[in-house]
């Protein structure tokens, strides 16, 4: 569906193919619904994705989708919120919740990266590359400078990660601002450059490859002092690290920049209407660059948090297989580029990823090796339905119209 102006299938088709005036009532209603649907539409979108995902489960495996979703719910530790869950069950739930929140932390930051660029009218598809460059610098700084004050060490590594991400995305921003190169193309290319830099650095004989394990393509572990403190759960068993608060701070910063600073005003003006921004005296290319750089900083911090918080090392395979930044696109889309929306969408996807990981799913209920594909399926459906939210809104308007009749 490329032309969103077209009414979806089944809508009253305008037989004369007439201009905007004739289509207006429908579009007007869409406009109203889009505003009223600030919360309703994303929730419906998610529910619709889960429903279709459930159908796929039912048809392809014959398993009960509700039981599957319940298992995912518990695997993600969401039952920790239920007060009647007690004893060992509660401990397990707490552990699962910690894992969910660790992933949520990353998703909030990569989601914000995509969302910030969106607000400037840019599609930053290069969160992955920015995440990787951030992780590379975090692992390099984290595994060097042994004996440095832990606070300084952590801040240094995190800031370096942010700056690297900003720089990486900034390249695409500069290209967009100066020669008009489309950011989708340039960020995809930068993703591959980042991946191959990582492969080179951590590959056998690479400059950052492990000193002691000569035949393992992985970095050195970061030193103890560079690890983020764990504030919930056992540090040995991957408890929740304080990067969680960095993500919350990221949400607040995101909101503050966009609604309380001149920078945010300029970014939004350019995003909504670059021609009006230019007329108004706003430097449009500069805002393209800044929006990309800030976007990249969020993704870079995400990479640094993963390294400093729970991965502690970066392997060649991780660099090649990391897809967490792409989930950030779905998070931003479902969260409608608002801080609160990104937070909730990140929690949803964090729970899905944790709940469907092989470790957390009972094979009796659903085959674990299929489960992560279910996550991908739902993720894809969300992106599809968000892109086609016209359909969701149209369904909403149909339901509303039927009621009085």
């Amino acid at each position: 569906m490329s032309d969103l102006d077209q009414p979806p299938v089944g809508a009253p088709v305008d037989p004369s193919g007439l201009g905007p005036e004739v289509r207006q009532p429908w579009l007007e209603r869409y406009d109203v619904a889009a505003k009223a649907g600030g919360l309703v539409a994303p929730v419906l979108t998610a529910l619709l994705a889960f429903a279709v995902g459930g159908l796929v489960v039912l048809i392809t495996t014959g398993k009960n989708p509700l039981a599957t979703y319940r298992a995912i719910f518990e695997g993600a530790g969401f039952n920790w919120f239920l007060p009647w869950v007690q004893g060992t069950e509660r401990q397990a739930a707490a552990f699962n919740m910690q894992q969910t929140l660790i992933i949520t932390t990353t998703l909030v930051l990569t989601g914000l990266a995509v969302a910030f660029a969106f607000r400037c009218g840019l599609f930053n598809i290069g969160g992955q590359g920015q995440y990787i460059t951030g992780a590379i610098f975090a692992v390099w700084i984290g595994s060097s400078f042994e004996g440095l004050n832990p606070f300084i060490h952590v801040v240094f590594a995190a800031v370096a990660g942010a700056l690297c991400g900003a720089l990486w995305a900034g390249i695409a921003g500069i290209l967009k601002a100066t020669v008009g190169a489309h950011e989708v193309i340039s960020t995809i290319m930068l993703n591959w450059i980042a991946i191959w830099i990582g492969v080179f650095l951590f590959g056998l004989g690479g400059p950052l490859q492990n000193d002691r394990q000569e035949f393992v393509p992985v970095s050195n572990d970061i030193v103890e002092g560079a690890k983020l403190p764990v504030f919930w759960g056992d540090p040995v068993f991957q408890g929740l690290h304080i990067g969680f608060f960095v993500a919350i701070a990221g949400l607040i910063i995101y909101w503050l920049i966009l609604s309380r600073t001149t920078l945010g005003y300029g970014v939004k003006a350019v995003g909504f209407n670059p021609e009006a921004a230019r007329y108004g005296g706003i430097n449009v290319p500069r805002n393209y660059f800044l929006a990309m750089a800030i976007s990249g900083a969020f993704a870079g911090v995400a990479g640094a948090m993963d390294i400093l918080g729970w991965q502690f090392r970066l392997g060649q395979d991780t660099v090649q297989q990391a897809t967490i930044a792409f989930v950030g696109i779905a998070v931003a889309l479902l969260g409608r580029n608002t801080a609160i929306g990104v937070a909730l969408a990140a929690l949803l996807f964090g729970g899905l990823l944790t709940g469907t990981s092989t470790r957390n799913l009972d094979p009796e209920i659903f085959r674990p090796e299929l489960a992560s594909n279910l996550t991908l399926l739902i993720q894809g459906l969300v992106v599809l339905f968000v892109g086609a939210d016209v359909i969701v809104l149209w369904l909403m308007s149909r339901v509303r119209r039927r009621k009085p009749a």
Partner: protein
């Protein structure tokens, strides 16, 4: 027209509701054979809704339609065409690469053996209709090669080819030059002489009094009155349309110009395709005068304004705002130097429609105190100014938090006007400041521009509406193919300006 002419169309007690609004509230309308019946009303008065009902695009909630004394159900445009209704929309529905005849017969083609398009027959039939009604269109010409005025005639032909007896013309002159409008009126008279009946939708009072036999005025979905055009004055119609007394004539004292505030010297500007659109223009606009720039669209006005406001780099020449050379300054630099700019397209350029009214007021100044300090924005101050300007400029339809895109065109323009004037500029460029506005809003904008002139601002008014240029300006310049080809006083006639606008006065003009 005599009252004896039979009634060909009757729309009785039509009511059409949309969520939250009644677009047509018990509207009755009738059309007699061979008359021009004008449908007059401000934007949003319900003219288009009524005509879309007639054309089968909407279904009325209440009321009936009778054509030739028979009640009809117009469920679709094809049913309307079947019933003899033809419509010429403001935006043409033509395929540019196809010929006139191909466009006209499309969907109802003469065929050989029921299969192959008989293009010879098509050309013949189009030529025959064209000659009968004096439309003078070459059936074999391609749409992309003919003028807008001719394209409009193709649309009329399309309806006639389908045997329309009732023709709806939706704001037909909006896209035409004054000369083309004159020709259109000739065609309309020819059509009525041959028994066709015309519904003429417009919000331009002078046209309506010129062409119509009867006039029906709509206001906010209600039918106000149907009156004979004979005896109706522009003032009386405006009062019916707006619902209160409207001054159409701009009352102003003679100008008293002093220092030159806006100066352009030998400016040359190229467009995006590298064509020289401004070819050595020099202007002096002094404090306390309105200089009107008249011209047909596309003669370099846009490029001239862009170069004067920092949105496009001039190839050579200078632009000076109250003594400061701003030729190479950014758009921001121009605003800082004391220039205000009401852009010709308020939706594309003048406003960020997704922003609130208050945010739109801050477009030029958000980086300065009191809007912000050290990059920190103070939304409360934006709201405060928003509330003040909304009151001062009588912006209706919302408060400071309302999205600018939710306002009507006239109120959007008030927002732009308020923003530009409130910055207290030395010089003001107003490009098409009343385009698409209705009478009440036009009156407001005109009054405000004259007030600003009297405050001592230098105002350049660029407009495609000749009567606007004539009534507001203290001096009139005519632009033709990127050059100033004549200077006139406001007592010049439209004909004199029209000749200069089409290059006719070139060379012989003694400036």
């Amino acid at each position: 027209m005599t009252d004896a002419a039979p009634t060909v169309l009757e729309m009785r007690h039509i009511t059409k509701r949309f969520p939250g609004t009644v677009a047509n509230d018990d509207v009755s309308f009738d059309l007699r054979k061979g008359e021009v019946h004008a449908l007059l009303g401000e934007n949003g008065a319900g003219k288009s809704t009524l005509m879309n009902i007639l054309y089968g695009l909407y279904h009325p909630d209440e009321g009936e339609i009778r054509i030739a004394d028979k009640q009809v159900q117009l469920g679709s445009p094809s049913a309307a065409i079947e019933a003899g209704v033809g419509m010429v929309h403001q935006h043409f529905m033509l395929i540019p690469v196809m010929t006139v005849a191909e466009n006209i017969v499309l969907g109802d083609e003469p065929r050989h053996a029921d299969v192959f398009l008989d293009i010879g027959e098509a050309n013949e039939r189009v030529r025959e209709i064209s000659d009968r009604f004096g439309l003078a269109v070459d059936p074999k010409a391609r749409i992309e090669d003919i003028t807008v005025g001719q394209q409009q005639r193709v649309e009329i032909l399309k309806a006639l080819y389908r045997n329309a007896d009732i023709l709806v013309l939706d704001e037909p002159t909006a896209v035409l030059t004054p000369q083309e409008s004159g020709e259109l009126f000739g065609i309309v008279r020819g059509l009525t002489e041959q028994g066709k009946s015309i519904i003429f939708i417009s919000h331009k009072l002078n046209e309506v009094t010129e062409i119509a036999d009867r006039i029906t005025v709509l206001r906010r979905g209600k039918m106000i009155d149907t009156i004979p055009a004979a005896g109706a004055t522009e003032e009386s119609l405006a009062t019916l349309m707006v619902g209160r007394e409207v001054t159409l004539r701009v009352d102003k004292n003679p100008s008293n110009p002093t220092d030159t505030l806006l100066e352009v010297r030998d400016l040359h500007v190229f467009d995006d395709r590298g064509i020289e659109k401004v070819r050595g223009i020099s202007l002096d606009i002094r404090a306390g005068e309105i200089v009107g720039l008249a011209g047909i669209d596309g003669n370099g006005q846009t490029e001239l304004i862009d170069a004067m406001t920092g949105l496009r780099r001039a190839a050579s020449g200078t632009v000076t705002v109250s003594g400061e050379d701003v030729t190479t300054a950014s758009a921001h630099g121009h605003f800082e130097a004391g220039l205000g700019h009401i852009p010709e397209d308020r939706q594309r350029r003048g406003l960020v429609l997704e922003f609130s009214i208050a945010e739109n007021f801050a477009l030029h100044d958000y980086q300065r105190t009191p809007d912000s300090r050290f990059g920190w924005l103070f939304p409360a101050r934006l709201i405060e100014r928003g509330a003040r300007l909304i009151k001062e400029y009588d912006v209706r339809g919302g408060g400071p938090h309302t999205r600018a895109g939710g306002l009507s065109g006239g109120n959007q323009q008030k927002v732009v006007l308020a923003r530009e004037i409130d910055r207290d500029p030395q010089a003001l460029i107003a490009a098409q400041p009343t385009r698409g506005l209705d009478v009440g809003a036009i009156e407001f904008v005109h009054r405000r521009l004259v007030e600003e002139r009297d405050e001592g601002r230098a105002i350049l008014l660029v407009s495609l509406e000749l009567d606007e240029v004539l009534s507001l300006s203290d001096r009139i310049l005519v632009i033709y193919e990127g050059e100033i080809v004549g200077e006139f006083t406001p007592d010049a006639t439209e004909e004199e300006l029209g000749v200069a606008m089409t290059g006719g006065g070139r060379g012989e003009e003694a400036a």
